[in-house]
């Protein structure tokens, strides 16, 4: 396992590279999903303030 983490002496380069990639790829999904959820609840609140709409 330590051998794997060591990456033939290049672990200090390989792992940060993969870490940056992981962070950016996850943010790419989390940010829009959260934005969508917030948008929906904001629009619901807005709807309530304006009163119920006719069907």
């Amino acid at each position: 396992m330590t051998e794997f983490l060591n990456m033939g002496g290049y672990g200090l380069y390989v792992w940060p590279a993969y870490l940056i990639v992981a962070i950016v790829l996850i943010l790419n999904l989390v940010v829009p999903l959260r934005r969508h959820r917030r948008l929906l609840s904001k629009m619901s609140r807005h709807n309530n303030l304006n009163g119920p709409h006719a069907p």
């Binding site: 390989v14 940060p16 934005r35």
Partner: protein, 250 residues
């Protein structure tokens, strides 16, 4: 209208695409997680060490897919921009706007991982050679596009202005690709798109292609996730969105 163009018009309608994106999203996300799992295991564990670069070469499994995607997403941006310009199709405007930040993030990843790879192998984090410089210009094109989008309030006007910028930047794509052949650079020549062998051993190529596929499906997931709130914002005053909101409340 033929059945095909009818199906196309239905697909391109924003309410339909909004719900379709919602249905596809978990599947695309799940598939990309599986592909990343297999690709990472093969690339980091199964693939052999490189004869010249040792284990540092394993950065290739994120660097090259990110670099490919940075260009592929730009193609998506430019083509959807062109469709938005010529046919004024709303879905094309939404796709263009949603793809830009994702493309920018892939470009950033290609530059960052390349820099981390360059330090131990080349001996420098950065050099102003044709490949690195043209890839940096690609990042600025994305950022310029995004700045333009946020500077113009009306989304339809912003889409057209952005499309012109995106189309002007298309010329950068062949420059990035051929930079290592047209000019002398520190960056080496192409590996995978070369026809004579051996450029990359099969045991190293398969994980690379798997990771590239994982990145592609990640892009599909990310753009679907971005398209949904974008459609809601554009259509917030329409009946179907109000119906959607009141359905959610009941």
């Amino acid at each position: 209208m033929s059945a095909l163009s009818l199906a196309f018009h239905r697909l391109a309608s924003l309410p339909y695409f909004y719900s379709l994106a919602g249905k596809l999203l978990p599947w695309a996300g799940g598939l990309s997680i599986v592909l990343f799992g297999v690709g990472l295991y093969m690339g980091l564990v199964l693939a052999p060490t490189d004869y010249e670069q040792g284990d540092s070469y394993r950065i290739i499994y994120v660097h090259v897919p990110a670099a490919w995607m940075s260009m592929l997403v730009y193609v998506v941006l430019a083509i959807s921009g062109a469709i938005a310009l010529v046919w004024r199709l709303k879905l094309a405007e939404v796709v263009a706007r949603a793809s830009a930040p994702i493309g920018a993030s892939y470009t950033f990843l290609a530059l960052a991982t390349g820099s981390i790879w360059g330090k131990p192998m080349w001996g420098t984090w950065w050099i102003w050679d044709a490949r690195l410089t043209s890839e940096l210009i690609l990042l600025f094109l994305y950022l310029g596009y995004m700045a333009l989008q946020s500077a113009i309030d009306d989304r339809r006007t912003a889409a057209r202005a952005g499309a012109v910028l995106a189309l002007v930047g298309v010329v950068n794509l062949p420059i990035i690709h051929y930079s290592v052949e047209w000019w002398s650079t520190l960056h080496q020549g192409p590996t995978v798109s070369k026809f004579d062998s051996p450029s990359i051993h099969l045991s190293m190529l398969i994980p690379l292609l798997l990771m590239a596929l994982a990145f592609k499906i990640h892009f599909v997931t990310a753009i679907l996730a971005r398209i949904r709130p974008e459609i809601l914002v554009r259509e917030q005053r329409t009946q179907w969105v109000e119906r959607l909101i009141s359905q959610r409340q009941s």
